[in-house]
Symmetry: D2
């Protein structure tokens, strides 16, 4: 039997260690939950926790075990259909809007599914030939980043479900509310000209961050910190939700049809603004970044304030001024935190995804991979806006300066925030 | 302390015994369920099992404990809002279509709620003064019949939820499929003239069964048994769902908009008709009564067959020809069963609710009770059809010949069937 | 050639005279209109005037000329499809909700169609053999009554369309506003017992008025006149549209979803109630019957007032107390008029259709005619309420005591009103 | 009285001449129409012709006559409300989706409105002081370009309305079908690098074409002509509308929900493809450019063909290679025409609007004008794609190389086509 080159063997071992760590983080997120919390789907855009647990597992089974594991027999052939999210190349999908109607497999059965696939993945990684390892490793990397994306969605989908309940139950009551004073805004110069955009290093990145290319940006100033709840409250009290001239036309339509009058989780109780967090309902923290706002609201705020949002190229260029540090999922705060007075750029990474004015579009020369895996990103490049920087629900090990998240302009259930430019 | 008259005291004791028995039957229905099964709401017309468990408890709390128990403190003031179904006289209601989005109170907490209210009800019944007992007893009777109605809804709502799952999970796998041969139809004469309609005895009945009054019916013949799956399959194979001339105009619209092509739970697999039952998916039993059909389908079948459906007055008159016996919930079959060859009227009670051509309307001189309790029946007397006779999911102790059930003509998730007349 | 029996020949000549008169009345209704008024469809329930003109003509072409005229060649084969309302037996229909999108045939072309069919009808009636005449005459009668129904719909559909316009244009400005003082309500006894219901004379009636049969009614009192605007305003000012306890459950849902707060054409201007009429917007006439109210509103008013609506059998029995006289379309008022103080029953016929509590259902033994013509009435006997008595937009020559009109309980655009019983 | 500088006076006279010419072109477009054709609104995105005629007139009245004409009295104060399209700064608007329900003002009254405003505009332009002229002239220019935009919409909205009619009536039957052979595709190099984008000359342009700025484009090849019906038919026959892998995710959703299976006006008759044109239904001309396709279809075609659509910057750069000539509204063809074999770039201007991959976004530093007039373009810069080059329904005097049209990706009722790049 051929000796496996030590580097590949090591890489597989490291990958397995990373696999176990990231899969375990998912399990850990479930610890505070009741069985009931795993079942509910509070809107078509969200999914039940149980579905996330199964779908991320399905991803490894479908794209790695089925093609690469010898004599692979699926646990249950129905899972291919039930837990396929949107991969037409794999086959039909159970309707997205009905995920919350399934009671089988139960949570316990889904956990058995996870463990079984974990075992087989471990076996596969340990026994892979060098040729197989070269093919499998990038797919495992992709599967783990996919799992991390769903970890964030589990938190935001769960938050949305809990918010439907008039008890406003907390996901985790042990988290202390972040404190801090409202700091003054600062502005930081970014040079204009041709800049380098996109991923070029050898490490992992999604296909949508490529090809690396040049872009032209103007000279600009970028805000030192995210917009705070205090600033947003002033906007609101200045009639924000009653003044059409502040809004994009579609934004104003949405304000009216959805009867928006505050950010998604701001709740008025006893004539005071509160905010629903994963630690329950709390009085609004004036110093914290405003979050759970749509692109429409971010855009209207910027217009009201006399500035604008950055493009994704401006943001990526500015982000090179600071290290990749911040308030991430690893800290288990799960809420944006106030910043300190400082001369520098703060909160660029972590805390809240920052809306950019860039429509989500392919980089010049972009080609998605062949086959079903190519459906990961490319087919969604339409009618969405790019968000940058990660949030308090994103893992530090998942984010990059070149990372492109994307949501439609009316989406509010993610941890989204506002970074101004001018 | 005044002596409680023995008859009232006995009545209360008997009532308490009945209370415990009926509440216990509800609990028993939950035994085969997973926690996940308690949470799901598969359509706005259906409710999660957990909600049924809480709402029936809320009924006793709201209409009996709050007004009659001394110094009554509710377990949780929010429950008044969460578990109010439609009583505007009580106050606002949590939106019906969102009942499946609630994960708190959990199933365990709902069970605690049930037990707590049971304890207090027991105490109240044992300690009631004669004056109180006279007021309380009819409300307890009503609450118990209310609970029995929800027992039936628990089974039909659960069946609907399980049917969404491509695994077609069984509620209870221990039930044997009823057997029997398809029997020929028979016809039975019913005399026309002035007949007595409605409830007049001293025992319990709903307000909608009163006042007792005379009605005029023509002489008619009524079918000896329910229409079978075999007969309905012939109707289907004769192009039923493609022939507008067989349908009421609204029925044909519904066939087209809902893309109906068979009864609700008929599933075509491997070129054979199957039927989803609470014991799982089974090959269609030709001898069993067809069930889960709408008024529109019952009406179209009758037109195709050359006869008609009876009115509720005709049905009630015919029902006096037979004893109140049949295939009820107590037998735990939970599916209509084939009948035997016989000279007599069969399946009049139990098996399947029988659609009548009577729109649900007040009897002459009907007055609902004062207050919120008056919302029980009267306000729904519009755009619904009366069904008679109970089903395999109805308790024997709940049904009467004068009992009026009602659903809109497109409803299919109840155990509904077809009795012909001519 | 055989001599035509004089009576049939005379009958045909009389029928032709009636044909010309009724068809001419339709044309007369169009005189005040602009071309633009013929085109608009303001809701799916209403149709453009042009469509009514063509559809009534199509009726004669389809049910009489095509089967009976020798070598009949249709003017345009497409008309069969375009102007078929709902007769599945004839074939496919142009979608009802899109009738307002058609600009061809133009109004002028539709008028040519009318004249051409009139000519051929005249010819057919004059040349018919006795055998043919016996077959044709009842169909012509039916076609003329059909035309009269559409005359009323033309007025109510047009009123609905004009009401969409903030100018509130009048259909006819020459009509004087009816005057009169609000009179006190009176009550009139009607004997209970077995009564005769339905049509039995030899003259024309729709199939739904048959078979003539006996029904049982209780003794009752019926109100001497229709409910007035003044009385309805008091109901409104007593919080009618904010009090769920006054409404049927579906009624209350409709009040909320449709945001009803007054009868359909009541308009609040300068803090005064106005009413849109076919003669334009006018200050509310307190003495006039309230009109354009739904069954839900009629039912809620009666509940608030402490009485009820009559059944259709009660109404028909009471109607025999008065002659068939009243405020009909022939007077060209086109609005319900105040009544005078009187000892007798007033406004039973004409003025406004009177909602009854009777669901629209077949009389015992009802059989619709064979073929497409049988789709006229029977297939609509579901989810509608019976209205009786005709309105200010009904022709005197069209109405009978046994006449059964029917609309769903939420319909408001007909001239509907409230007659109380108790 | 001060002498008006000759150049301004001349400019006003020239402007008035242009005003009369463009307003007259609008009137000319109406000549083939029946009154009925002016009334219909076939979908919420389209407007009745009568509304276009009034709205363009309202624009001059609102933005010029009201602020600048002395003692200006509006013809009818209601028109401000009725004919305001979307200018929140002006006030409330009659609901867009109900424009087809208005029958007043009639077509004749709208024509009187047009003539009256024309007279007053003429007077204003002749009597304007130099200071006034400097303010008014750019607004008149804007109003005339606005009118030309609506001329195109009149044609496309009318086409959509006529297409609802199973007669498929022609707008103008005198137009000969364009002939020509299908030519082979050619490819033309465009240099990459920094390019100049946007309007900078002194003549008129919309605000959205500014500021003039630099952009970076890659070297590319652009197709010599538009994609033809023949090529699109091959795409269709290769299963285009059944293959999800060819589509953006939203595109595939739209194909399924809208049941698209061909371009908007392709009609299958007698097993042959036909195309509805403003000259009626015709057999599909294989050599003509495919038109009335959505962005989704253009994108899917390009993917299938192995190329892509250009960005708007690529398009604008390529367009400088050819003169601004083509098949425009002035020729009264009103349909894209086949091109000839040629070495050069053809059909860049006129024939069909060309979808680009560029989301409609502000140019760097874009500021809309102050006040209601600033609502013209900026507020729509969201969820739309840029189209370039004008169409057969665009006036030559209206189009520019820098002109940015924009529609949502599902829009199909404009004359849209496909230009490939690679």
């Amino acid at each position: 039997m051929a000796t496996i080159p030590s580097d590949l063997s090591t890489r597989c071992a490291l990958l397995l260690s990373k696999y176990e760590s990231i899969r375990g983080f998912t399990d850990g997120l479930c610890e505070p939950l009741e069985i009931e919390d795993f079942v509910v789907q509070s809107m078509p855009d969200a999914s039940p926790i149980r579905w996330h647990l199964a779908h991320t597992t399905w991803f490894f089974e479908t794209f790695i075990l089925k093609p690469f594991a010898k004599d692979y027999e699926p646990l249950d052939p129905m899972y291919e259909y039930l837990f396929n999210s949107y991969y037409n190349g794999i086959g039909e999908q159970f309707p997205r809007s009905k995920r919350g109607l399934l009671t089988r497999p139960t949570v316990a059965e889904v956990m058995i599914y996870r463990r079984e696939i974990d075992n087989r993945m471990g076996q596969l990684l340990l026994e892979a030939t060098p040729e197989e390892a070269m093919q499998i490793a990038p797919l495992v990397e992709l599967g783990l980043h996919h799992e991390q994306q769903h970890q964030e969605l589990m938190l935001t989908d769960l938050k949305h479900a809990l918010a439907q309940n008039p008890f406003y139950p907390a996901y985790d009551t042990d988290v202390e509310q972040p404190t801090g004073k409202t700091t003054s805004q600062t502005w930081h110069e970014v040079d204009g000209g041709l800049v380098e955009i996109g991923h070029e290093a050898a490490d992992f990145a999604y296909d949508n961050e490529s090809p690396h290319h040049e872009a032209l940006i103007p000279a600009l100033e970028i805000a030192g910190r995210l917009v705070t709840n205090s600033e947003y409250r002033q906007f609101l009290e200045d009639g924000a939700y009653q003044r059409p001239e502040l809004w994009l036309s579609l934004g104003w339509n949405t304000v009216q049809s959805e009867q928006w009058d505050a950010p998604l989780y701001w709740i008025r109780q006893n004539e005071t603004w509160h905010e629903f967090t994963l630690s329950g309902l709390r009085p609004l923290n004036e110093a914290s970044p405003v979050t759970h706002i749509s692109y429409f609201e971010a855009d209207a705020f910027a217009r009201w304030q006399g500035s604008r949002l950055p493009t994704e190229f401006e943001w990526e260029t500015a982000s090179r001024l600071v290290p990749v540090e911040g308030n991430f999922a690893e800290s288990h705060n799960f809420h944006p935190a106030p910043t300190q007075e400082s001369e520098g750029l703060r909160q660029m990474l972590g805390d809240a995804w920052e809306w950019t004015t860039s429509s989500y579009a392919p980089y010049p020369g972009f080609k998605p991979p062949e086959g079903a895996i190519g459906e990961y990103n490319g087919k969604f490049m339409c009618q969405q806006y790019v968000l940058r920087g990660g949030s308090c629900a994103t893992s530090r090990s998942h984010i990059r300066r070149t990372y492109r998240n994307f949501f439609p302009p009316e989406a509010r259930w993610q941890f989204t925030g506002i970074r101004l430019a001018r």
